[in-house]
């Protein structure tokens, strides 16, 4: 998916570095030294990361990062619909992550789908005397009140690790007693530097407790694949899964959007893992590759250009049946997508977007904006690693600014300098930029819209971007008096 190096008028390595230096000047020396390696002009030619990443957040800088628990509960475990996910510890963590990620789910709440907040609601006495006994009791009650739950995840919050509880032992015993998978996940928020470790820990628990505990009753077929790192935000999986099926694949399981525990557990049987969000699930892809010899491929489902490239790249791994179907699918949808572009692009041509998100979006969405005629003038990740930035370099125009774990001040100053027509970031940033009069879309939650993935998603994405940038409300910002 390489492409020619793009330039943006007025943006040079020097101008970008100057902009970076200007904001760094505000920092005290120590802070400046720490932040400096995380900010740099992009060098697409190098094809590799221009910034450092996955380091501790500098204290006091107003970071957008979450924690390991957030990565475990919000990202990996939470979307599995047929399990009860217990936020083990004080009430807050589960409360904040209750219904706030938009990983949509099928099923009936409290019956065979469990999107409520389950918590052990630690009190002072649980801190003093430990929470293991309470956990044991809680698991019994969960099984009793929610008999159709296929399993229970126990997601530790900070106090659990700090007071030395042994949830692993409790889970083991209770799983036996209750005859139901109970997965202890030591994802205390203080672990690691961001939600990223939460993903890793969760991947590890899938490896240790889930995978290969089930098998599909039907024989394995040549087109059996799994869709990994697809969380069904705003219904994304309900766009991508049918698309892959239309291309001739059997999508045996989705990790973990609208996910089902037993299908995830049987994923060791598929022929290929198709991964979308590399950051949060590459660990398990690698495990499955090593352990079961399952190859994996990274795709991009944003915007017709990337979708087309991705589908063809995927088809390359299969026979002509698939190749023909993929071409037929492209032939069917591409004109529809072009119609969308024709409608919207005249209103968006040349508009500049600045991205700051998590997961795969800071690089994966660039092509979709480009499909709309837009230019990416800055991008960065909340919790990425070097391999993410390596992959980002070729996607972004030359010398545009890259920021890792950006502080709000940095983003503000960059926006003031770059004057983007759109900022695409998270809820914590949204109203900051809107107050500045800058159009904004939440790109973690699709701003309560979606899906944005696949051919079903692109027209919605295009409509939303158009609406955000061209809403007449922006012309009202400046008072005439």
């Amino acid at each position: 998916m390489s492409k020619t190096i793009q330039k943006v008028e007025g943006i040079t390595k020097e101008s970008t570095q100057e902009m970076i230096d200007k904001v760094l000047a505000v920092y005290p020396e120590k802070g400046r030294k720490k932040r400096s390696p995380h900010l740099a002009p992009n060098d697409p030619e190098s094809g590799s990361a221009c910034v450092k990443s996955n380091k501790k957040t500098v204290p006091g800088v107003m970071s957008a990062r979450g924690c390991a628990y957030a990565g475990a509960k919000g990202v990996v475990w939470g979307p599995i619909r047929d399990m009860v996910h217990v936020s083990h510890g004080p009430v807050g963590c589960g409360w904040y992550s209750w219904g706030t990620r938009r990983n949509l789910m099928s099923g009936t709440l409290g019956v065979d789908q469990f999107a409520m907040q389950f918590t052990s609601d630690f009190q002072e006495k649980d801190i003093v005397y430990g929470g293991d006994k309470k956990l044991k009791q809680l698991l019994v009650e969960t099984k009793e009140l929610f008999p159709l739950a296929k399993g229970i995840s126990v997601l530790s919050e900070c106090p659990v690790g700090l007071i030395g509880d042994d949830i692993n032992a409790v889970a083991k015993q209770s799983a036996k007693d209750l005859d139901i998978p109970i997965i202890p996940c030591n994802c205390e928020g203080f672990r690691g530097v961001s939600q990223s470790l939460g993903h890793h820990i969760s991947n590890d628990t899938i490896r240790d407790y889930i995978i290969e505990t089930r098998e599909f009753p039907e024989p394995v077929g040549p087109y059996d694949i799994a869709l990994i790192g697809e969380y069904n935000i705003g219904g994304d999986a309900w766009s991508t899964k049918p698309l892959l099926e239309e291309c001739g694949f059997n999508v045996k399981s989705v990790w973990t959007g609208d996910g089902e525990l037993e299908k995830i557990a049987a994923t060791h049987q598929v022929k290929l893992n198709v991964i979308h969000c590399y950051r949060s699930m590459n660990y398990m892809c690698k495990v499955m590759e090593e352990k079961y010899g399952i190859p994996w491929i990274e795709l991009n489902f944003f915007g017709p250009t990337k979708i087309k490239q991705s589908l063809r790249k995927l088809a390359e791994l299969f026979d002509d049946t698939i190749k023909e179907k993929v071409e037929a699918v492209i032939a069917k949808y591409d004109p529809q997508m072009q119609a969308v572009i024709e409608e919207v692009r005249p209103r968006l041509e040349g508009k500049k977007v600045m991205l700051y998100v998590g997961g795969l979006r800071p690089r994966h969405t660039i092509g979709a904006y480009e499909d709309l005629g837009m230019i990416c003038v800055g991008s960065g990740y909340e919790f990425a690693h070097t391999d993410d930035y390596d992959r980002t370099a070729p996607e972004m125009p030359d010398a545009t600014v890259v920021y890792d774990d950006a502080s709000e001040l940095e983003l503000e100053e960059f926006a003031k300098e770059l004057k983007p027509d759109l900022v695409a970031s998270g809820i914590k940033e949204k109203y900051v930029f809107q107050k500045m009069g800058l159009p904004f879309r939440q790109m973690h939650s699709w701003d309560y819209s979606g899906p944005y993935h696949g051919y079903k998603g692109f027209p919605i994405f295009a409509r939303d971007i158009d609406m955000a940038i061209n809403s007449p409300t922006w012309s009202l910002v400046k008072s005439p008096y």
Binding site: E124, L145, C158, Y431, V477, K478, S479
Partner: protein
Amino acid sequence: MANNLGLAVKPVTETPAEEIERVKEWINTEEYKELNFKREALVVAPPHACQPLGAELAAHAFEGSLPFVHGSQGCASYYRSTLNRHFREPAPAVSDSMTEDGAVFGGQNNLHEGLENAIALYKPKMVSIFTSCMPEIIGDDLSAFIKNARNKGIVPADMPVAYANTPSFNGSHVHGYDAMLLSILQSLTAGKKVEGRCTGKINLVPGFDANTGNFREYKRIFDAFGVPYTILGDISDVFDSPLDGTYRLYAGGTKLDDAADSINGKATINLGPFTAAKTYGWLKDNYAGKHASMPMPLGIAKTDAFLMKISELSGKPVPESLKAERGRAVDAMTDAHQYMHGKKFALYGDPDQLIGYVSFLLEMGAIPYYILCSKGSKKVEKEIQALLDSSAYGKQGKIYMGKDLWHMRSLIMTGPVDAIIGDTHGKFIARDANIPLFRFGFPIFDRVNLHRYPLIGYQGVINMVSAICNKFIEVVDETCEDRFFEMMR
């Protein structure tokens, strides 16, 4: 068969549709309700958050105050995004990003480095520090840390730094608000008490309240009286700031000078009284002037009491304009009473708000049927029970302290009500029961502007009457048979 993890391998199964249907019905039964109420360890969908969230709200409520989370940055992100979503406004706050090594070395280094950076970057007039779990568990000594920071010159000598211990395993957002507010007032008023001085102002302590319209309404009421006042603390401009092309990191809040001088106030009114109990206890001992603690002015009677208290404390009569407003609110209630009379409501939320809703509903002849507080107390229960006992319409009311929304669901599915008053989290019950949810609580994630409409005072009465009655009428319009679809209602 066992896999290479040593675990048994079973086939992938599908839950039979009949089984799903059975459980679907079962969770709506009395039997299930009983089982559900037997729970002792598991808590499902409790409508309260943890202390630091409330602390952040208090920390935002003062001019130039930067909320500072001593703990993991993930905690701060959670609090901030909750406030972002509710107000659809920025909620700038920092954390000192403690990680594993904090557990070993304590959080002083993080705190000091965080203060240094935050002050340089965000130029606050004061820093308001509160804790999330980690420092609470490891026992960080905030008092000492901050003293050290001052000694090391990290914090300018004249910059107030408040700090509150807000353990998440204790109380709720309401208690965190109280603790932070207390610390802010203590730190701002330290050494400011002047014997014999009187600001002539009334201090108002509204407690945890995420309705900016309420704050504007308090101010309008004081202005109508012509009585000077200081609200401790005032979130109205902070979380309802103009969109005019300029982002203001600190968009409002109680002026620090006013807050400092509030200790020399003419009088102090604490509304609640559960929401800022500790703060009020300290104020009573330390603030000059008279003190009064009274319920939130929700409904007519409690608004009357509030106005009469202002009148008593200020020596000014209740202005005619407010008296006319009272008459208009009573008019609105009377004109609409038939749409609410005898209707049963399920309520949940923070104690003081519950008391207010109960009072208002009884005034309308409506029936507060289930009153649930996931962080209540015997004292709260007693107060609500006394209200219920005061009215014929309170007889059927049942109070549930320390219960959650999964309990509430069982109650409503087995003994129906006409509507729910609560926050966004109740929407799943409302859908299952096919009844309206009135979003008077916090947070509201799925409607716009509701925090801009006051619920307190006489205007609040009109707003509650309008929201409730018009929705009930709408339900009739939308669900009645054609032959009952009418022009007039």
